[in-house]
Symmetry: none
Subunit: 192 residues, 4 copies
Amino acid sequence: MPSAAAAVDKRAAILDAALVTFVERTYAGTTVPQVAEAAGVATGTIYRYFPSKEALVNALYRRWKGELRDRLLAAPATGDPREAFHHWWGALTSFVLEHPDAFAFLEMHHHEPYLDAESRQAGIDVDTGAIALIARGQAAGAIRPLPPPLVMALVYGAFIGIVRGLRSYGDLFDARSFALAEDAVWDLVRTP
Amino acid sequence: MPSAAAAVDKRAAILDAALVTFVERTYAGTTVPQVAEAAGVATGTIYRYFPSKEALVNALYRRWKGELRDRLLAAPATGDPREAFHHWWGALTSFVLEHPDAFAFLEMHHHEPYLDAESRQAGIDVDTGAIALIARGQAAGAIRPLPPPLVMALVYGAFIGIVRGLRSYGDLFDARSFALAEDAVWDLVRTP
Amino acid sequence: MPSAAAAVDKRAAILDAALVTFVERTYAGTTVPQVAEAAGVATGTIYRYFPSKEALVNALYRRWKGELRDRLLAAPATGDPREAFHHWWGALTSFVLEHPDAFAFLEMHHHEPYLDAESRQAGIDVDTGAIALIARGQAAGAIRPLPPPLVMALVYGAFIGIVRGLRSYGDLFDARSFALAEDAVWDLVRTP
Amino acid sequence: MPSAAAAVDKRAAILDAALVTFVERTYAGTTVPQVAEAAGVATGTIYRYFPSKEALVNALYRRWKGELRDRLLAAPATGDPREAFHHWWGALTSFVLEHPDAFAFLEMHHHEPYLDAESRQAGIDVDTGAIALIARGQAAGAIRPLPPPLVMALVYGAFIGIVRGLRSYGDLFDARSFALAEDAVWDLVRTP
DNA sequence: AATGAATGAGGATTCATTCAT
DNA sequence: CATGAATGAATCCTCATTCAT
């Protein structure tokens, strides 16, 4: 009975292999046999777990966007906005440091045409959580009175900026860049 | 007889058509005949001006990254850092508003595997200009003493955040978002 | 312990399932797992009873062509040619009415490239029985002096025509069509 | 300009090659490269003329079923039923003798699942023409008072019987079999 | 120089068959 | 014996690129 456990393992192996290959060579630039080889399975096996290459990216996207959402939602959103921001920024940071490929994958596939409605929704869920946090901070007078989606775009954008730098110029950036930047980004967010 | 001029026109028409189609359907999702049709030329003609599809994206990338660099370098980098930042931010903004597809294209193709060394260099040139600006501001004590590439990553990232918001949630963002955000981003940059 | 009996049952179940699925979806359009599911066994089990999918169709073809041959040979070939024809036609009719799928299957797979020599022989055996009958009728002066294989082709063809009509336009044909047609077909056969 | 004439030629070459290969090896048993090779073109060229393998069979089916229909409708349906039958039978015969593969193809693909609605309609058109002829003959009292579709099924079936014999036992049958059989089949049709 | 039909290598997907459990 | 997950060869189809006109 190679059933339950083995199947889960194999599915996970395929997802892991797909993550690495897609980040290395792009979704379109990756062939299914390449994913299979990286996962240590035969080509046909991919199709036992995912109906198509497209279904595979979507599953991968949802898996990691969901993980990210859970991390961010789990960050304690205490009364103090600065504190809440610290937890949110920390959650994002630890996610990137633990799963750099996953974060890169999510960014690369931000709004690609092959993502289906459910996957896009997963992306939106992450956004709305952050937007609610911002609105609360504004109500408390601690955050700038800009449109909350705009604040979120600025903060999330700044964060992605660091990640890109980390990937592109690894020697100029390191893991501490996130901590270094936190205060600066808070000055972007908070009421001046 | 306007052979040379006609050739320039045709080359430009192909580049313009490629820009639109690549942004709409992705580089990988675009076929050469599609570009040809959008440009109003025959498929074979594309190959008279560009040796391959890959050479075409690279040419396109360099054309617009160069344009962006020229705009940013042309922004008067006067003595006052706040002023200089205003010009830099304004140059970026006007570029995006005048050539939204071009900016989207540059972002989408940020670091794709089919970009060659020269294209990557074009990206770096833009960065180094900004980094020099930052270093000058730091020397004057006006800008936070963070590593200049990190500052640039944060600012450029925040800017891209707005652009993404503009493209994804057009109704929540508009052209004035850039102006609205300028002060906030300056607070991210300047010495607290 | 009823190992032998169980094996027979399972083999029969597979053949029955294959008959239904092949008629419904074509030999080429049927997958081995589909047959297995219809038979209520695992895919691998099919291969315990038949070395290949091709061997399975061939076994099926022979099983039913043999059954048909036995029925036709069992029809009393009494002295009177009209009587003999009546029995032959009746045997054919009752076979079709009792095993419509089997007859359809035999027709669909009339001379497919995957039938092997032995299967083809089974088809010929059926023919030669009928041809002998015709030759006897001709010797008695009751049947037209056409080449016996031609007479058989005409009669068998007419019969198949009814079956096809039954399958294609079920509402215009019914089981009584066979009886209705018998006299007409006899006029085709008998000496004018 | 390889345009008009060449394109027609190539399309025709592909259809001709497909006819031969499909008859020889079955639709499902034929690969697209095999058709391409038989047609003397590259695989991709097939797809310039037909969107898919399925579209190709359908085009082929319609082409020949249409030709057959035109032949049968062109047969003079004079007042005398025996005469009309003679022309109908003769049209069918000459079609088979001139295009044996085409007729075999039409029979093999009689009601396959990959034929689309329009192709099926082409088949029905042939039938209704024959049925009208039969109804007229019955009104004149010359044809048996059986349901016209049944008469058609018997006659068409008998004809196919000869064709099958011709293909399976070429040595026992020849082109004259059709003429030999005509009177016998008329006795099947006419009022006794 | 321009055209666009033709090419064929390469990619996604299917499915007959095997074999470890 | 039975199972059904795994295999990978074989198929359909796409599309970057070429080249005769």
